[in-house]
């Protein structure tokens, strides 16, 4: 127990932030991830923090290369997020943000299913405050829907863990695989947090409703924790390939016609997680390496994109494509950083997305899956369209919306710059990331063939955009809401319930009215017998209580005989 648990620093520190006045709070909030990171460097690999909890031996800290990679990534994200949030006077966001980060760290270092569950729930509970921090009815409702899904995921995980214990006598969190029923429970639990198709809507719903800084935090931890859990528990499960392939495809249709820029990014997030899921499903050194390195990069470049959009929201008060445009004059620095992020997500050579996404695609080719490979290629061209071009183009260029505002605050620019530099550095010097990966890497991203072909793909995809714009075929930016799975529980189900109530109501009412009349007669009869006048309420209550007790006794007696 000599080691300090990495989650502890962020969790305890995050709590401490609530008690500090503004100045010290700002300093501490940035220092906490740094301390956490230094502590992480000092921890040896292996199982630590064995705790007995109600007779179970639990491992609250299991360190290996896989968990370390996510640990580094989360500390980095917390550090950048803390800088991005420095201007805030509000202690709720930075406090819960860092506790939320700590929960993510705890989850990836959890060595057994109970510890995982604990942090899993903590992730849900802390993150919802980031949604609520925006204030207002909309954020409140969205947060509630978000929380419901997250708690459902937690419940599934809990049942899965209990079943796992009953079946195997162990709670340790290692490769799970698919076979028994409870394996599917766990897969669903992870799947909800991982935004599997049809279970994805909480992400689209809630992330864009959060504050500028809140979304930056949100984008980093929940889904990546789920990716980690999948990589740990379900590596090489074929079903994940199909699920992941669907995840790469369907969001891009939505993203192209979505008006809220942060919602576009949320859709593109699912698309990126799709690539990771495919990598995990493929398994093997290349697949897993590709999946987790892409997760690492995604935390940075998706965070960067969310930061740039957050800065726009912060300065202009709007984040709708239909209301923005021409901001490159007012916010050139933000614009430049955004373009770096967009280039990374589009996997342009020399940017970070290139060196990780290509591993997954090559993994698909190695396994000989032609259709899958074509799908992934299609999805990479598609992601380029909405995240790579749409985001910077409609925000900073396009038609001038005549918005003149100040450049983003200094702390936001610093945070974005750090991310942008990281995108380029990792993209240009792959060993930096490759050395951290769980499996040894013998993949070389920078071959002439690969660079040329990727550039061809990217440039012609952009050309398609240019042609569509010039011919006026690109869907115009319109203020709108697009229906997604949430329509089922926000519209269809309530309507169905109303319908049932409307038609079934009279029947039920009649039933109850009849029953009520009967009970009233019964009570009246008893009252007559006992004949207590006055003090109506209490006499009535006590008598009926006594009656219930006697009926109960009779039921017992009849039952026992």
């Amino acid at each position: 127990m000599g080691e300090v648990h990495p989650a502890l620093i962020l969790l305890a520190g995050g709590l401490l932030l609530f008690a500090l006045p503004t100045g010290p709070r700002r300093v501490v909030s940035v220092l906490l991830p740094v301390f956490g990171f230094l502590n992480l460097l000092a921890i040896p690999e292996g199982a630590m923090w064995q705790i007995t909890w109600g007779g179970y031996e639990m491992v609250a800290l299991r360190v290996d290369k896989l968990s370390l990679l996510f640990g580094y990534s989360f500390h980095l994200a917390a550090f950048i997020g803390a800088i991005y949030a420095l201007h805030l006077k509000d202690r709720l966001q930075i406090g819960t943000g860092l506790i939320y980060a700590g929960s993510g760290v705890g989850a990836v270092f959890a060595g057994d299913l109970i510890a995982l569950f604990v942090f899993w729930e903590l992730l849900a509970i802390t993150s919802v405050f980031l949604v609520w921090a925006r204030g207002g009815e909309r954020a409140l409702r969205s947060g509630m829907r978000y929380l419901a899904m997250q708690i459902a995921s937690g419940l599934l995980l809990l049942i899965g863990a209990v079943c796992c214990y009953l079946k195997t006598g162990s709670l340790s969190f290692d490769h799970i695989g698919l076979g028994a029923t409870y394996h599917y429970l766990l897969l669903f639990a992870f799947g909800i947090k991982c935004a599997f198709p049809l279970l994805h809507n909480w992400l689209i719903d809630a992330y864009p409703e959060s504050t500028p800084a809140g979304t930056v935090f949100l984008s980093a931890f929940t889904t990546k924790t789920a990716v980690y859990a999948l990589a740990r528990g379900f590596a090489g499960e074929e079903v994940l390939i199909y699920i992941g392939a669907v995840m790469t495809i369907f969001p891009i249709f939505y993203a192209a016609i979505e008006n809220d820029m942060r919602r576009v990014l949320s859709y593109s997030m699912i698309n990126q997680i799709g690539f990771m899921t495919v990598g995990i499903g493929l398994g093997g050194a290349l697949g897993i390496n590709g999946a987790v390195s892409h997760a690492f990069n995604d935390v940075i470049f998706k965070g960067l994109l969310f930061m740039s959009m957050g800065a726009i929201l912060f300065r202009t008060g709007s984040i709708k494509a239909s209301e923005l445009g021409g901001l490159y004059k007012s916010m050139p620095w933000t614009c430049a950083c955004c373009i770096v992020g967009a280039s990374s997500i589009s996997a342009i050579p020399l940017f970070s997305g290139f060196i990780s996404k290509s591993m997954v695609i090559q993994g698909a080719a190695d396994s000989g899956a032609v259709v899958l490979w074509l799908v992934l290629l299609f999805a990479s061209a598609g992601v380029l369209h909405h995240a790579g071009i749409k985001i910077p183009f409609f925000a900073f260029f396009s038609h001038d919306a005549k918005i003149r505002c100040r450049e983003a605050p200094l702390n936001m620019r610093v945070a974005m710059t750090i991310s942008a530099v990281l995108c380029v550095v990792i993209g240009s010097y792959p060993p930096l990331l490759y050395d951290l990966l769980p499996h040894p890497v013998d993949y070389v991203p920078y071959t002439t063939t690969h660079v040329v072909l990727q550039l061809q793909l990217v440039f012609f995809a952009v050309l398609a955009f240019v042609v569509l714009m010039l011919t006026g075929n690109y869907p115009p930016e319109l203020p709108c809401v697009n229906l997604d799975v949430d329509w089922v529980y926000r519209r269809a189900l309530p309507a169905a319930v109303r319908g049932v109530v409307r038609t079934g109501g009279p029947i039920v009412d009649g039933f109850f009215a009849g029953g009520k009349a009967l009970v009233q007669k019964l009570i009246a009869a008893i009252r007559e017998q006992h004949n207590t006048e006055g003090l109506f309420g209490r006499a009535w209550l006590s008598q009926s209580n006594v009656l219930i007790a006697i009926i109960f006794l009779a039921i017992y007696l009849i039952y026992f005989f």
Partner: protein, 84 residues
């Protein structure tokens, strides 16, 4: 979409330059010796001239024209849809 003729000219030049880049990239296909992603014979199309360029152009084009635009007709609602 652009207001001044001066700006239109700039856009025209930008587009022309970009198309030139695309063409030269395409021509590189003739020079560069390409390694196939797949094992021999699985997907020969991959090695054809301009495969990536065509795929890169067609897939997003198709995505928008036969995907998103019809989808929009189906699912687009007013912004106040859920508020009412």
């Amino acid at each position: 979409m652009n207001d001044s003729p001066k700006k239109n000219e700039a856009v025209r030049r930008l587009v022309l330059g970009f198309v030139a880049c695309c063409v030269s990239l395409l021509l590189l296909d003739l020079i560069v010796h390409r390694h196939l992603s797949f094992a021999e014979g699985l997907l020969p199309v991959e090695g054809w001239f301009g495969f990536y360029a065509v795929y890169g152009f067609v897939s997003p084009y198709a995505l928008i024209v036969i995907g998103s635009i019809p989808l929009r007709k189906l699912i687009m609602r007013s912004e106040e849809y859920y508020d009412g």
